[in-house]
Symmetry: C2
Subunit: 344 residues, 2 copies
Amino acid sequence: MTKERSYFEYLALKEKGRLSPEHVPEVYHFDRTMSLIGMRYLEPPHIILRKGLIAGIEYPLLAEHMADFMAKTLFFTSLLFRTTSEHKRDVAEYCGNVEMCRLTEQVVFSDPYKVSQYNHWTSPYLDRDAEALREDNLLKLEVAELKSKFCERAQALIHADLHTSSMMVTRESTQVIDPEFAFYGPMGYDIGAFLGNLILAYFSQDGHADQANDRKAYKEWVLKTIEDTWNLFHHKFTALWDEHRNGAGEAYLPAIYNNPEVQLHVQKKYMTDLFHDSLGFGTAKMIRRIVGVAHVEDFESIEDVAKRADCERRALDFAKKILKERRKFEGIAEIVSAIRQYDS
Amino acid sequence: MTKERSYFEYLALKEKGRLSPEHVPEVYHFDRTMSLIGMRYLEPPHIILRKGLIAGIEYPLLAEHMADFMAKTLFFTSLLFRTTSEHKRDVAEYCGNVEMCRLTEQVVFSDPYKVSQYNHWTSPYLDRDAEALREDNLLKLEVAELKSKFCERAQALIHADLHTSSMMVTRESTQVIDPEFAFYGPMGYDIGAFLGNLILAYFSQDGHADQANDRKAYKEWVLKTIEDTWNLFHHKFTALWDEHRNGAGEAYLPAIYNNPEVQLHVQKKYMTDLFHDSLGFGTAKMIRRIVGVAHVEDFESIEDVAKRADCERRALDFAKKILKERRKFEGIAEIVSAIRQYDS
C-alpha cells in the first residue's frame, strides 16, 4: 500500500479530533517524509473493541460515544454546515487518497461478487453460499448502486474503515483510530460499518457461548447497542442540524427552507435516505467479511468449524436480505427484529 | 467572476474536443496569465442556436449531433469507462472551478425559491406564480435533492451550462462552446439543460407566431427534436457502454456483471435514473429562466407582455409538475405528451 496513506491518516485524525476531541486520540507530531505519526498512547485497560465484543464485555457508553463521534464528524464536514468553497477544497485534497479508495472498491464492492483468488470462506460449509452470491443478479444490481455512491458521492469526510477494530475502548472511554482510508464519501458508509460489525459480533456470539456463559444476556446488550447507536445518532445529528440551521451550510438555505413543515419534510427525507444508505453499506461490509479476503476475528476465533459456518450463514442470509430490501425498513427497531428472525 | 474560469474553459474545451471533435471548436492556444484562449473561428452562417430557434429555423441534424456530443463526453469521463485513479485525479482538478459551481447553486437552485434582489419576472402577470414557487414545500424538497446531487455527485465531466446559447449551429454543423462552468457533476444536468431549453423554445413559439407563420409546424419540429435527442442519446450512450463493457471502467466489472440478464437490469436502471435526473435538472433550469436572474431571449423577445407571460406560465406550470413527478415518467414520449397538454 502507498506510504501516502499516513498523510491522510494524519489529516483525518487532526480534523476528526478537532470535531470530536473526546473520541479521537490527540496527534502530537507528523513527519511526512518518514510517514511518522506521534499521537497519544491509549493506555490500558483500552483494548480493541472487537476483542471486547468477543470476550463478552459490555460497554455501557459505547452507543452514546459512537453516535456522538459520527454525528459531529459527519455533520460538520457536510454541506449541512459547510460552504461549497470549503467543501470542494477538502474534497480535492482527499481525492489524493485514491489508492485506499481503490482498495475498498475491490475488497468490499467487487471481489465478493466474482471469482477472486483473494476470496475465502469456511469451506466446504459455505461453498454453495459463496456461489449463490455470484449468481444473485438482484444483489449485484444493488451492490452496483452502493459502489457508485461510494465512488461518486462526496457527502462528508468519512473515516471509511469504521469497523469494531478501529476503536479502542474501556467501559468509560471510546477512542476512534486508524482513519487512513478517510475521504469525502457517503455518510452511510461509516454508520453502516459500525452497525454492520456490531451485527457480525451478534451473530458470532453463539460460537463463543459455553457452559459458564450462554451469551444470551450479552446478545441482548449488543442488540440494544445497535438500536441505541442509530437512535442516538439520529437525535444528535438532527440536533446539530437544528442548532446550525441558520448558519453558512449550503444545502438548505434558511431563506428557502423557512417554515416548520418544509423543515420537517426535508429532515425526514434526509435521515430516511441516510438510514437506507447505512443499511446498504453495512450489509455489504458484513458480506465481504464472510466470503471476501479479510475476515473478522469474531467468527475466525470460533474453533468448531461447523458452528462457525452456521453463525456465518445466518449473518450472510440476514445481510443479503437487508441489502436487497433496505428501502422497506423505516427504523432501527425493525432491523433488530429482523436480526432476531435470522437468529432463530 | 473569477479569471480562473478561463483555465477551466480551456481544459474542458480540450477534453471535450478530444472526445467529440466534430462538435467542439479546436483550441490553438491558451495563455493562463492573460486568460486568453485562441480557438477556431466559427464562420458564418454559424449562429447561436437560440437565435435560430427564435427565428424558427429547423436544424435537421441537431438532435443527432447533440446526442453524439453528450453521449461521448459523458460516457468517456464516467466510471463506466474510467478507472478510479483517473476519475479522482480529474475530480480534484475541477474542484478548482468552485466559483462557477457556487454561481450555479445560487441562480439555479436557490434564488428562484426565495426572495432575492436578483429575481425578476414578467410583472404583474407572474407575481402570484413567483410567490407560489416560494411556498411550494414539495417543490422545494425536490429542488434540495437536485442541489445535493449537483454539489456532491461527481458522475462525469459535465459542461454545466449546456443551454441553447452554448452552441453555434448551421443546418450541417453543431459546435458546443463556453464550457467555463465545467466540473465533475451529475450527467443529467447537461442533458436536462439542453432538453429544458428546447422546451422553453417550444413554449415561446406562440409569442413569435404571426400571419406569415403560425409556427405550428415548427413546434412539431421542436418536439421531434426533444424526443429524438433523448432517444438518440440513449441509443448512443448504451452502444458505447456495450462496446466498452470489457474495458477498464470501474463501475461494472465484467467478471461480476457477466450475464445478459444482469447487464440488461443494470443498464435499464442506470438509464432510468439518468432520465429522471435529466427531467429534474432540466425543469429546474426552466424555472430559473422564468423567475430568476437570467432570462432567455426566447421569451424576452416577445414584445406583447401579456402574451409573453402566458407563454411563460405554461412553461412554468409544466416544469413544476415534471420536477415534482419526474419519477413517474418512463420515456421521452410521455414528456412530449405532457408538453402538449400544458400547451392547450
